[in-house]
Amino acid sequence: MKRFTLSLAALLCLGGIAQAKVDWESKGMQIAGEIMANPAAFFYDFQQDLEATTPLPPGKRFGVQTSLFPTTIPMTYTNVSLKARLHGEGRIAPGVPQLDLIGGYWNMLAAKMATKDSQTIDSAKFGGYYMGAILSSSVSPRVRTFWGYKRSQMKAKLDFKAGEEPMFLGTAISSFDTGFKDDFFIAGIETPKGIGKLWSIQLNYGIKTQTISSKVSWYGKIFELGLNIYPEGVLVVHPVWNFHLNF
C-alpha cells in the first residue's frame, strides 16, 4: 500500500516524463545495424508501400496507380500498378464476391544511373513486381471485407565487368544475385467516409518468411494517404502517398 501511494505520488509529480532522454545517434546506429543484418527486408518494405492491395471501389472497373512517397521520392522506385475488375459482386451469381486482379512493377532509377559511371559494375538490376487477386464482399451497405493473395518478388542483381570481378572467399564472382520472394495472404475491411472516400485497414501476411505488415489507408478519388506499419521492419512506420485513377 505504501509503495502504491509512493508510486502514485511519483506519477503525479510527472517527474518521470523528463527522466528518459532519446539518444538519436545510437538509435541511428541501431537502425544501420538492422539494415546491414537484413538489407533485402529493408528495401522490400518500400516495395510493400507501392503495392496496391485494396479492391476497386464499387462501380469502378479499371484502375492505375503510382506511388509517390516514399517510393518514387526519395527512393527512386519508379513504379506503376494496375487493377482490373474481372466481375463485380453478385454478377456471376448472387453471393459471389467481386474479383479484382492486381499487379505492378517497379524499378530503381538510382541503381541504373549509378552503374552508368561505374567501373566495376556492368549492369545493376534492382526492381521487382507483384501480382495477385483480391476478392471483396459487402457485409452491409457501408462495410466491405476483402481478402486475397499476392505473389511478390524483389530482385537485386549485380553483374560485374569482366576483369573487374571482386574476390569472395577465394573465387571471383561474376554476378551477385539476391532478393526477396514470398506469397502473401491479404485480409482487410473498408468503409466509406464520404463520397469517393474510403477508409480501410488491411493485414498482409507472408507465408514463407512470416513477414507481416498492416496498412491503414485514407483512399480518396485521386490521392491516397496511408500509414503502413511494418512491425518487424527497420523503419517501423512508413507514411505513404499514392496517386491513382479509377475508371
Partner: protein
C-alpha cells in the same frame, strides 16, 4: 504452417461468401470481422526509445443450424510487438505472433441451461530482438485441446448466469531444449530435439455474472511431460515438474450518465515444485540454489474510466497495478547473488486516451501511458525490473 494458413483462407472465404450481398440476408450465417492495429513509441528511463505495435485480427462466423444448435468458428491472428510488460514475463524487445482457431458448438438443453463443447488449436511464435527467424524461436508453442462449458441462467431479467468450464490443452514447445544443463552438471543428460517444456494443462473454472457484475474462480493444473525437478546438487531428479495456479477475480461494468467505469481485481496463487540453479556463467562451479523458485502470489487491479463527451468523442483514463510477491524466491543484488529477502515486483500503469468513433464500425484512439516498475531485485542484466517508461501511441480499429 501452410495448413493453418490454408484453413484461415478457407474460413475467411467461407465467411465471406456465406453472407454476401444482393441475396436474402442470411438468417443462418452471421460473420464477424475485427481488425485492431496499435503502434506506439516506448521511452524507458534506461535505454533508448523503441517502437512496438500490436496487430489483432479476428474473423468469426456464427452458424445457426437450428434454433437450438449454434456453431461458432473463430480465427484469431495476433502479433504482439516490443513493449512494457510486468516484470519476469518478457524483455522489452520480445515479440510474439500467434494463430488460433476455435470452434464451439452451443446447444440449448433447456430454456436456461446451455452447453458449449469446443475445440481449439493454436500456434505461437516467439522471438527475441535478436532477429532470429520466427520458425526457430526457442519458445515457439503449439497447443491443441478442447473445453466443455455449461451456462445456467438464473435471472433472465438482470442477465444473471453462471458458467462452469473445464478446459484441457496439450501444449508443445518443439524447439525448446536446454543443452546448458549437460554442460553445467555432468550427471544431467539433455534432449537433442525439443520438447523439454511440453505439458498438459487442465483448467476448471466457475464464473457467475449478474447485472454487469462478474466474478470467477479458476484452478489450473500444469503437468510437465519431460521437465524434471532440479535438486540442490544441480542434478535433475526423477520427479516431473507440476504447477498449479488458483485465481480469483471480480469486476463490474457500470454506466453513470456520461461516465463508464469497468474496474477489475484479481488475485492469483501460483505454486510449483520446481527449483532453480543460478549459474553466473558457463562453467560456474559454485552455482546458487533457489528453492521453490516459481511460487508467488499476484494481485492485479485495473480501473478504467471512460468519459463519453459526445457520441463520437470520448476521453478515457485507466490505472493498472500489478503486484507480485514471491514466496521463497530471494531477490538478487546487482552482483547476481541472492539476498535474504523474498522478491516482490510492482508495476503501476497510468493511461490517458482520446477516442474518436469515425462511424459505427471504425474507431481511432490516441493514448499516452506512464509505467512505473519497481522491484527489490537489483539484478537487471537480462530482464528489466526497475524503470519508468512513457508510451505514446495510436490505435485503429475496424470492427463489424
Amino acid at each position: 504452417m501452410k495448413k493453418i494458413l490454408l484453413s484461415a483462407l478457407l474460413t475467411a472465404g467461407l465467411a465471406g461468401e456465406l453472407f454476401a450481398a444482393a441475396a436474402e440476408d442470411s438468417k443462418i450465417f452471421t460473420p464477424f470481422f475485427d481488425m485492431t492495429l496499435t503502434e506506439a513509441g516506448y521511452l524507458p528511463s534506461e535505454g533508448n526509445i523503441f517502437s512496438g505495435g500490436n496487430i489483432n485480427t479476428q474473423v468469426g462466423l456464427l452458424s445457426k443450424l437450428t434454433q437450438q444448435d449454434h456453431l461458432f468458428a473463430l480465427y484469431n491472428f495476433n502479433y504482439a510487438g516490443p513493449g512494457f510488460a510486468p516484470q519476469d514475463s518478457k524483455q522489452f524487445t520480445d515479440r510474439s505472433m500467434s494463430h488460433g482457431f476455435n470452434f464451439e458448438y452451443r446447444r440449448f438443453l433447456t430454456d436456461r441451461l446451455r452447453i458449449r463443447p469446443g475445440v481449439s488449436l493454436a500456434t505461437e511464435y516467439r522471438r527475441t530482438g535478436a532477429n532470429e527467424v520466427w520458425k526457430n524461436g526457442l519458445y515457439n508453442m503449439n497447443s491443441a485441446g478442447g473445453q466443455l462449458a455449461a451456462d445456467y441462467t438464473f435471472d433472465e431479467e438482470k442477465n444473471g448466469y453462471v458458467t462452469a468450464q473445464v478446459l484441457f490443452r496439450n501444449v508443445k514447445f518443439p524447439n525448446y531444449t536446454d543443452l546448458l544443463r549437460e554442460f553445467q552438471n555432468a550427471n544431467n543428460t539433455s534432449e537433442t530435439s525439443g520438447g523439454l517444456q511440453d505439458q498438459t494443462m487442465t483448467q476448471v473454472s466457475l464464473r457467475p455474472a449478474w447485472n454487469s457484475f462478474f466474478a470467477g474462480i479458476t484452478y489450473t493444473l500444469q503437468n510437465y511431460k519431460n521437465q524434471k525437478v532440479i535438486a540442490a546438487t544441480g542434478v535433475y531428479g526423477d520427479s516431473k515438474q507440476k504447477d498449479t495456479n488458483t485465481t480469483l477475480d471480480f469486476g463490474f461494468h457500470q454506466k453513470l450518465w456520461v461516465f463508464e467505469l469497468y474496474p477489475m481485481v484479481s488475485y492469483s496463487l501460483h505454486r510449483s515444485n520446481q527449483n532453480f540453479m543460478v549459474y553466473k556463467f558457463l562453467g560456474d562451479t559454485s552455482p546458487q540454489f533457489g528453492e521453490k523458485y516459481y511460487d508467488f502470489n499476484e494481485l492485479t487491479l485495473s480501473v478504467p474510466l471512460d468519459l463519453n463527451v459526445t457520441s463520437k468523442w470520448a476521453i478515457g483514463g485507466a490505472i493498472n497495478v500489478t503486484k507480485r510477491n514471491y514466496d521463497k524466491r530471494k531477490a538478487r543484488d546487482a552482483g547476481n547473488n541472492f539476498t535474504g529477502s523474498a522478491q516482490t515486483n510492482t508495476m503501476t500503469t497510468l493511461t490517458g486516451s482520446i477516442r474518436k468513433r469515425m462511424n459505427d464500425v471504425a474507431m481511432m484512439r490516441l493514448f499516452y501511458s506512464l509505467v512505473v516498475a519497481s522491484s527489490n531485485n537489483k539484478f537487471e542484466q537480462y530482464m528489466p525490473y526497475n524503470y519508468t517508461g512513457n508510451t505514446f501511441g495510436v490505435s485503429y480499429q475496424l470492427s463489424y
